[in-house]
Amino acid sequence: MPEKIHLKIKRQDGPDKPGYWEEFVIPYRPRLNVIACLMDIQKNPVNAAGKKTTPVVWECNCLEEVCGACTMVINGKARQACTALIDKLEQPIILEPLSKFPVIRDLMVDRKAMFEHLKRVRAWIDIDGTYNIGPGPRISEKVREWAYELSRCMTCGCCMEACPQVNPRSGFIGPTAIAQVRRFNAHPTGAGEREARLEALMGPGGIAECGNAQNCEKACPKGLPLIKSLAELHQETTLHGVFGWLKR
């Protein structure tokens, strides 16, 4: 059993500041996660060289892999820090911010773009209002089961990090916003906006940017069926592109 936990953290004081590495050593306890280590640093902000420093800045909330906030690159892989258990990680543990988003400070990045992508693809059901007008449409349990899988996306950004096509040049909106189109089109009411969603995928940065690297599904902490969703939507957008005008 190791006596110490050794962390190497990529830090940056602000968006326009240079990055630098800082190392920390923390007393070992069983069953810790990366969050607990960062909390230890808050309680004793001293680096491995014994020098006083500032506590590391990072985002987190639920600590049970539901909110998606604490996503960072841990030993080279994008994942949530709450479920990154120290006992299962090779040391030194290397923490870096997600690279596909602008750094705000240390491990905190700006993921607002992902929420904007959800606007673009109309990732919602158009309802008449919140007042009480009875139940929604019936849905078979079979459809529910796979649509539910897609609706578990936390917008954490792991798939964006893993996708080689997500970069400033392509403007690719990434796998998960596209998968949400499939989820909302599957809903009987949501299907009313099916064409608008497909068209939203057909412009610049849309589904044509997908290079079929298939990294996204492996990277997804919730195991969303992203590859199947992308394949299906490739086909649907193509058909819509060819025959869509006939329906007008």
Partner: protein, 577 residues
């Protein structure tokens, strides 16, 4: 006429429901949230949402839901709003259904139901084991649509610092801080809705997230808002103890047939089933928690002599578990490394929910006109103990009422002129000075360590079993921590995305609120719902069928007591055996 401007603080279920309702009523809405609404703590609610839609043909009804909620809350809740909430609950489920929440279905494609504690009816609609996440996302999507259309603006990560209150005691706006640039702003509002959720982080380790500090409620309490029933803290019977937090294992594990046991004389002993034959494993949370406490702490029968019992699902078909509990079981497997489909889980009670909160009237307005509150941050629906599955519908209902009533209030207000700019400026200045004071603190104490100490004391003394001498000692400890607070040293002086300064500010608010909870518990010499004192083991309706109302004074909280509205259901002894 100009659109009324409503400011909503908090982007969870209650906050976003208030947003949608207020926007629907024609208001311009601004939402300020610590996190993107999608990451709000509502997303971690697991089991499901209660509503008497009776798709199982069991004869359930809103009236039964109402009676069980009042009984489950040990008659401490004012009854009329609870009745309204239970009558609205089926409509709330249907609203989420229309928003596209992927609720589990019956073979006919209707909404499936399961059971929770404190009822004999299947009343919980659910979406796998991540119902809160699904419902949170549905509201988030609807608000995003409004945002895209321009009716609503959402700001994150921004924190509420205080209310702007005019000379007439009326709330005219808020002071909020952008937690990235650290800029502090005063924002005018015709009405403000507080929807800032729970306070679990005040207890250190709980099932809550790290932002559930209750600091907004506490800041308002210090500005004159009344805080009600603070001493009623729900301890959830089944959580995985952890170093950084305790992770919830939903009550619906038991709703799906999960059994709680320990070894006694070498054989599994299903103590809840033996002690409470009528409800078995589905007794309400306060009852189950005390039973587990008794077995572990008093009888010493916990697993390996430790404070743990088994929660067993291993006898249930794994496919059934997958369809109905998957998200939850994954959490256990990830953090403990064992498959709960095969081996019994090891769990122990943990702080989970506050029944108490900001006092509100039946329109969800606090005692400060123009300031509304909805959701876990207020006290309205759960009495002395919340039933499983009632959290989400109650906060959604509350958000809807608050949204509507806030707009009504804003439209009906006599004073139509906007607040004087000096008023907003003065409150902003007060907050900027407070921030500067914190930032300049130099001393040997660390705010995170003080918080840890506070959490340990609160967890050890102000949770399942409460003794007056230990409550008194805890209050003394809090006073000591408040004294040591003044000797904190701030390790990060940066003016950009500084997390230490806001945490230190929240810590002060947590300390203030901890006193309300602790002294409230000390004064209430009876046992009711989640509040249990061995020295006073019985419920005492003659003296204590009353709402606790705490008001801030510089010398500590001042308490008043208000009779409970029991006009619909005669109080009777609460028993589940």
């Amino acid at each position: 006429m100009a659109k009324p401007k409503i400011v909503v603080i908090g982007g969870g279920l209650a906050g976003l429901m208030a947003t949608l309702k207020a926007a629907e009523e024609g208001a311009e809405v601004e939402v300020y949230s610590l996190v993107p609404p999608k990451r709000s703590h509502s997303a971690t609610a697991q089991g499901g949402i209660n509503g008497a839609i009776d798709t199982k043909g069991e004869g359930d009804s809103p009236q039964k839901h109402f009676e069980e909620t009042i009984y489950g809350g040990d008659f401490l809740a004012n009854q009329p709003p609870v009745k309204n909430f239970c009558e609205a609950a089926p409509g709330i489920i249907y609203m989420f259904d229309r928003m596209g929440v992927m609720f589990n279905r019956t073979p006919e494609g209707l909404i499936d139901l399961r059971r929770a504690g404190g009822t004999k009816y299947s009343r919980v609609a659910f979406a796998g084991g991540t119902t809160g996440q699904q419902m949170m996302y549905a509201l988030d999507e609807q608000v995003r649509k409004l945002e895209a259309e321009g009716g609503v603006r959402v700001y994150f990560p921004w924190e509420f610092l205080s209310a702007v209150i005019d000379d007439g005691g009326i709330c005219r706006g808020v002071v909020v801080q952008d937690l990235i640039s650290m800029e502090i702003h005063a924002v005018r509002a015709d009405a403000v809705i507080i929807a800032t959720g729970g306070i679990g982080y005040l207890f250190g380790r709980s099932t809550n997230g790290i932002m559930n500090t209750g600091s907004a409620q506490s800041a308002l309490y210090q500005q004159g808002a009344c805080y009600a029933n603070g001493e009623f803290i729900q301890i959830h019977p089944t959580a995985i103890p952890g170093e950084d937090k305790c992770r919830l294992m939903s009550e619906t594990c038991r709703g799906e047939g999960g059994r709680i046991w320990v070894y006694k004389d070498g054989k599994p002993w299903y103590f809840l089933e033996e002690w409470y034959p009528k409800y078995g494993n589905l007794v309400p949370r306060d009852i189950a928690t005390r039973a587990i406490f008794k077995v572990c702490v008093e009888m010493g029968l916990g697993i390996d002599g430790q404070n743990k019992v088994y929660l067993d699902l291993s006898h249930i078909d794994p496919k059934h578990l997958e369809r109905r509990l998957s998200g939850i079981l994954d959490i256990y497997e990830i953090f403990v490394g064992e498959d709960p489909r095969k081996v019994p889980m090891q769990i122990f009670p943990a702080v989970h929910f506050t029944m108490g909160g900001l006092w509100v009237d039946y329109n969800h307005m606090t005692n400060i006109p123009g300031l509304f509150a909805a959701g876990e941050c207020e006290y309205q629906y759960h009495g002395a103990n919340r039933l499983g599955g009632n959290g989400m519908p109650a906060c959604t209902y509350a958000g809807g009422v608050a949204g509507q009533k806030a707009v009504e209030y804003a439209r009906g207000r006599q004073e139509k002129s906007p607040p004087r700019p000096e008023l907003l400026e003065a409150e902003k200045k007060r907050q900027e000075e407070m921030e500067a004071r914190i930032r300049s603190m130099e001393g040997p104490e660390n705010p995170y360590l003080l918080h840890q100490e506070l959490g340990e004391w609160m967890n050890n003394n102000v949770t399942v079993v409460r003794y007056n001498d230990r409550l008194k000692e805890t209050d003394n400890k809090i006073l000591e921590l408040m004294d040591r607070y003044r000797r904190i040293g701030i390790a990060d002086k940066s003016g950009w995305s500084n997390q230490v300064v806001p945490f230190t500010r929240r810590l002060w608010h947590m300390l203030q609120l901890a006193r309300v909870i602790t002294i409230g518990a000390l004064l209430r010499n009876e046992s009711r719902g989640a509040h249990y004192k061995p020295e006073f083991p019985e419920r005492d309706d003659v003296n204590w069928l009353k709402t606790t109302k705490a008001y801030f004074t510089p010398d500590g909280p001042r308490f008043e007591y208000e009779p409970v509205d029991t006009s619909l259901l005669e109080p009777r002894p609460r028993r589940y055996d």
